[in-house]
C-alpha cells in the first residue's frame, strides 16, 4: 500500500519546469539525482513550504494538497517531519528545548512522550543541556533527527542530512538514521546525490533529472540507470 502519493507540476519564473509523480511504499525511499534536478523542491512541496501550481499529494489516505479541490494543508497540519541539511536547531534553545519543541503536537493528542527512547537510541543524553553551537555537525544532525521523531510524524523527510559531514562521520550518523527509522518504523523520504548513501540505506530509489522522474526501482536497478543517464558528478 502506498504511504505517499505525489503528483505535482510547477513552472518556475526562470523557466525550470518540475513535473514529478511517484509513490512511496517502502520504509526508506531515496530521491536521487544531480543538483538542480528538483529533489529539494519535491520535499518542500510535501512539507507544505512550496505550493505547486498543479497537483495532488496524499499521505496515508489523507489529502495534503489537491489544487483542483483547492485543498492545501498548512505545514503544521501535515504531520510531516523534516530534517534539514544544516540541521536548523533553534540556537536559543538547549538540545532538550529543541527536542521538546515538537512534542506539544502529540501531547495534545494524548500520546505518551517518547523522549527517553529517542535520547537513548540516538545517544544524545550527555548533550541535553548544551546549546547547538557547542555541538559537532554529527551531534547536531542526531538532535535534529530526534526533534523530528518526537513530533511523531507520519512521514519523515530528510534533505541531504549528511551532506555537510565528512566521510567517517557520515557513516556513523547514517547508522543512527537507519537505527531510528527502523525503531520507529516511520516511512522516510531521503534526498541525496551520494550513491553510497543510496546503496547502503535505500530500499527504493526515485531518480530525478531536470525536474522529471527518469527512473524508479531498487538501488541496483536505478544506480545502473543513473550511471548511464546522468553526468558523472551526479553519481559520486
Amino acid at each position: 500500500m502506498s504511504v505517499l502519493s505525489f503528483q505535482c507540476e510547477h513552472r518556475y519564473c526562470g523557466g525550470f519546469h518540475l513535473d514529478v509523480a511517484f509513490d512511496v511504499s517502502h520504509r526508506f525511499t531515496a530521491l536521487f539525482g544531480p543538483s538542480g534536478s528538483g529533489k529539494t523542491s519535491v520535499l518542500n512541496m510535501v512539507a507544505g513550504f512550496l505550493r505547486p501550481q498543479q497537483g495532488t499529494i496524499v499521505l496515508k489516505g489523507r489529502t495534503l494538497l489537491n489544487t483542483v479541490q483547492r485543498v492545501s494543508l498548512l505545514p503544521e497540519k501535515r504531520s510531516v517531519g523534516f530534517v534539514f541539511q544544516d540541521s536548523l536547531l533553534f540556537p536559543h534553545r538547549t538540545v532538550e528545548g529543541n527536542l521538546r519543541y515538537g512534542q506539544h503536537r502529540h501531547n495534545r493528542r494524548g500520546h505518551s512522550s517518547d523522549f527517553s527512547r529517542v535520547v537513548d537510541v540516538l545517544e544524545i543524553g550527555p548533550l541535553l543541556r548544551r546549546f547547538p553551537r557547542n555541538l559537532s555537525g554529527g551531534e547536531r544532525q542526531r538532535v535534529a533527527l530526534g526533534r523530528a521523531l518526537l513530533s511523531e510524524p507520519e512521514l519523515l523527510l530528510m534533505d541531504e542530512p549528511l551532506a555537510s559531514l565528512d566521510a567517517p562521520l557520515r557513516d556513523r550518523v547514517l547508522t543512527y538514521l537507519e537505527r531510528a527509522v527502523a525503531e520507529w518504523n516511520i516511512p522516510t523520504l531521503f534526498v541525496t546525490h551520494a550513491e553510497g548513501e543510496v546503496r547502503r540505506a535505500a530500499q527504493w530509489v526515485v531518480l530525478l533529472q531536470a525536474g522529471h522522474v527518469v527512473g524508479a526501482g531498487t538501488p541496483d536497478q536505478v544506480l545502473g540507470l543513473a550511471a548511464s543517464r546522468l553526468a558523472p558528478d551526479a553519481t559520486r
Binding site: L74, F82, F84, G102, F131, R147
Partner: protein, 234 residues
Amino acid sequence: MELPLALLNSTEWTALRLSLQVALCSALFSLPIAIVAAYGLARFEFPGKWLLQVVVDLPLVLPPVVTGYLLLVTFAPRGPIGSILHDVFGIRIVFTWLGAALASAVVSFPLMVRAIRLAFQGVDPRYEMAARSLGAGHLRAFFTVALPLARRGVIAGFMLAFARSLGEFGATIMVAGNIEGRTRTIPLAIYTFANQPDGMAAAWRLVGLSILLAAAALVTNEWLERRRSPDVRA
C-alpha cells in the same frame, strides 16, 4: 562624573520625570506596532509594500515641526481622530503629556522599525519552517523562534526610540505645547530657561542631565548588544 541631582529644583525634577514618562510610554506604545510592521516588511511581499515603507520612514526625513503640525490637526478636539477620542472616550491628546508621548512615538517610530526589521532579516526564515514542520502555527513559530532570535534588534530598537524620545522637541512643542508641570519635558525646559535672563544655570544643569540620560541609554544598548547570551557562550 556624578550630576548633583540634589541641586535640581522642583521644576527641573518635574521636567525630568515628564521626560522619562513620555519617552517610556512612547517607546512601549510603539513597540508592538513596530514589531508587526518590521516583521511584515522583513518577511512578506505584498502590493503596496513600498508605500508602507515610505509611510514608516517619513517621520525620519520630515521636519519634526511638520510632523507635529499634522498630528496637531489630526488629534485636535475637532480633528478627524481627536474628535472621536474626545467625544467617545473623553481622551484629550493635544496639550497633554499624551500628546508629547504621541509626538515622540511618531518621530522615533522609523528608528525602532529599522532596527527591528534588520534583526528579522538576519534570522534565517527556515528556522520558522522548521518550527512549522514540528507542528507550530504561524503565531507560535513567531513568538518562540523568530522573536527570540531577533531580540537584540528589538531591544536596540526600543532603546534607540527611547533615547530619541528623550530629545524630541519640534513635534512635541507643536502637539503638547510647553506647559510647565504638564508637558514641559527636558528639551522644552532647556529652551525655556535659555530664554530667561537668570535661567542659564538651570539650563546647564538640564543640558548635563540630558547628556547623562542619552549616554546611559546608549551604554545600556551597547551593553545589551555585547552581552553574551547563553546560546552564544563558548
